[in-house]
Symmetry: C2
């Protein structure tokens, strides 16, 4: 069929609350803008665990397996300490990333002028900030073997992990970066620690080789990760597409988060390998986590999840105009003063999660 | 003898220029404040390499070996591409850190109110920023074995590195952090990635065990490294002492650098194990590198090196009042408008490296 299959999995903590709002928005686009999507809701976490013994029950696994796109909420937090570690791990986000080979994690950093007051960076520094960090997501030190904790002959313990990358693991994520740069400002900055790590030497050589072979029209620069962290704070507007390994991308994307005013604003997508038609399985999720401290209160910021739907419109649904329409509606709502608690100035009105969803829908 | 031995090694790039100024300041304290130091100057880099075949010639190695403290400038840069990699490596900063077992790298982050205008962070965010990052410096992924690049049966290459920590490696650097916190605001934040890495699980367990056994008067918190990167940008004034592994400390200290206005402002010290009297071999150096693009122009900021002398006064020379005197002189010079190019507002007067040294001396 020509229907595009989307699994909606709110998950745990504030995940279901924010996903409720992005789900509404997605239904609006489906109904009003004629987008052929088949939405299937599925549960994840403690509730299915108590009923089935699995945080990711078979029904949810099936929905995610057959989906072209997954709209994911969040996982983790205190409510789940009832789930034993092994059951947790079997259905974890890390295992899902690995299972669906979602190796390219795109995290856009866009500074909304409406939020300049609540950001820690100066407005002059935030001007024109609009870049995407592409984080390699299924290899590196997150998955490298051997790993563990051993006891040494003298009774001490030793923890060890393996950082590792192969030629093809580097090249495929670099390819995603170069292709994306062609649709943007044409610049890729690759980040590594090639002055110290062999993994980074290989990374830099393979990125450079792919660039020379197929993407010499794109501008390629390299930064050491320490310098990149500083440049992201000093002058984030210099970047277009940044590509880096799993752990560096984890750190740098949170370092960059503040340029957008709040972690609650940030969308993301994790992409698998392209099929023959260039379609890629995609998991869309806000960058924030399950935030157990505010879960259930209805005050979480749904914009990270809503902007993830904008990414879905652009990438999986191939509707760039609708993506821009949604992004503009978010801007309009913000410009009109709509603020959840995380982005509100002291003493100003705070919208609930639902009211922020309303504000975006009204602006559409 | 009771003389404290200091080796002065300017090194390469802007290293000699900035060290000339901190060296003058150190001599001022020695002469005017009666500090018993024996200063020995020694060369490092291309010049001794051309004469002796070693970037770190025997005379320099001897000076550093017998020194209580080393005032180090910088290493690296284009001028040294004439030195073959093996000769370079034998005398590298990494090998020196390892040789002298300088495992605790202290990087203070202090926001000078005089520089708030040139910092990318808002003045409200910079208020009361005064913390120290302690980076483990002789283990972790920088030194872990096995490491390398191998060719796989299918012709692909694979790069690999080993992150590793033992009980004693974690505990000794954590001890430095707890002891330092006792002389400050009494708070330690330990940074890891214990939700993913076994090395970090061990790190967290050992830090916690040492805390319970010997330092329960100190407040201990833990942050994941991605969250720490965000908090350093969002609200850096929340921290007192932060302790973390080698690679995370490398990234986080550069991420934090912008809170002080410029990398050129940042001092550091790397400490070895205490002897029976509690004295620790120490290498003092600015956080910035050799900056080959501006080397020889006499425009580099010497304050990172000068503030490293303040750290030397406080730690190796045990002269906290003199350390405070020097830090105050730097503040006075900045408050009076003294600016090198890296911290000058557009269109304002820029001092040379030497003139900045003069400005600090005049303020003493
Ligand atoms: C929860 C954690 C395992 C995860 C990661 O480090 O990948 C999170 O920080 C993220 O960035 O998605
Ligand atoms: C030059 C490099 C090896 C070094 C490091 O990563 O340790 C530098 O970045 C530092 O922070 O001292």
């Amino acid at each position: 069929s020509n229907m595009i299959k989307v699994a909606v999995v709110g998950g745990e903590g504030i995940g279901p609350e924010v996903t409720d709002q992005s789900h509404r928005i997605l239904k609006w686009f489906s109904a009003r803008r004629g987008i052929p999507v088949a939405l299937r809701e599925a549960q994840y976490g403690l509730i299915p665990y108590l009923a089935t013994g699995k945080v990711l029950p078979d029904d949810t696994a099936e929905a995610m397996e057959e989906a072209d796109a997954i709209l994911w909420g969040a996982t983790g937090g205190p409510e789940t300490t009832e789930v034993p570690a092994a059951a947790r791990k079997a259905g974890s986000l890390l295992s899902l990333r690995s299972k669906y080979d979602l190796y390219a994690n795109l995290r856009p950093i866009v500074a909304s002028p409406a939020l300049a007051d609540s950001a820690p960076l100066k407005a002059s520094v935030l001007k024109d900030v609009d870049f995407i960090i592409i984080r390699e997501l299924t290899s590196g030190i997150y998955f490298g073997e051997p790993r563990g904790i051993e006891t040494l002959p003298d009774g001490q313990r030793r923890g060890f992990n393996t950082q590792q990358y192969t030629t093809s693991q580097v090249r495929r994520v670099a390819r995603t970066a170069f292709e994306l740069a062609r649709t943007r400002k044409g610049r890729v900055c690759s980040v590594d620690k090639a002055n110290v790590l062999e993994t980074s030497v290989l990374w830099r050589e393979e990125v450079t080789a792919l660039h020379q072979a197929e993407f010499s029209d794109v501008e390629l620069t390299h930064l050491y990760v320490d310098n990149a962290a500083m440049q992201i704070v000093r002058a984030p507007s210099q970047f277009d597409v940044m590509v880096t390994c799993n752990i560096f991308g984890d750190i740098l994307s949170d370092c960059a988060a503040m340029a957008s005013g709040s972690l609650g604003m940030l969308p993301s997508v994790s992409l698998g390998p392209p099929d023959r038609l260039g379609r890629r399985k995609a998991l869309y999720e806000p960058v924030h986590g399950s935030a157990p401290d505010i879960a259930g209160k209805g005050i979480a910021n749904p914009l990270g999840s809503i902007l993830s739907v904008a990414m879905m419109l652009r990438i999986t649904l191939n509707r760039p105009d609708d993506a821009a329409l949604l992004e503009k509606a978010v801007d309009t709502a913000l410009a009109a003063g709509a603020r959840t608690a995380d982005i509100a100035e002291p003493g100003t009105k705070r919208l609930s999660t639902q009211e922020m969803g309303d504000a975006v829908l009204n602006a559409l």
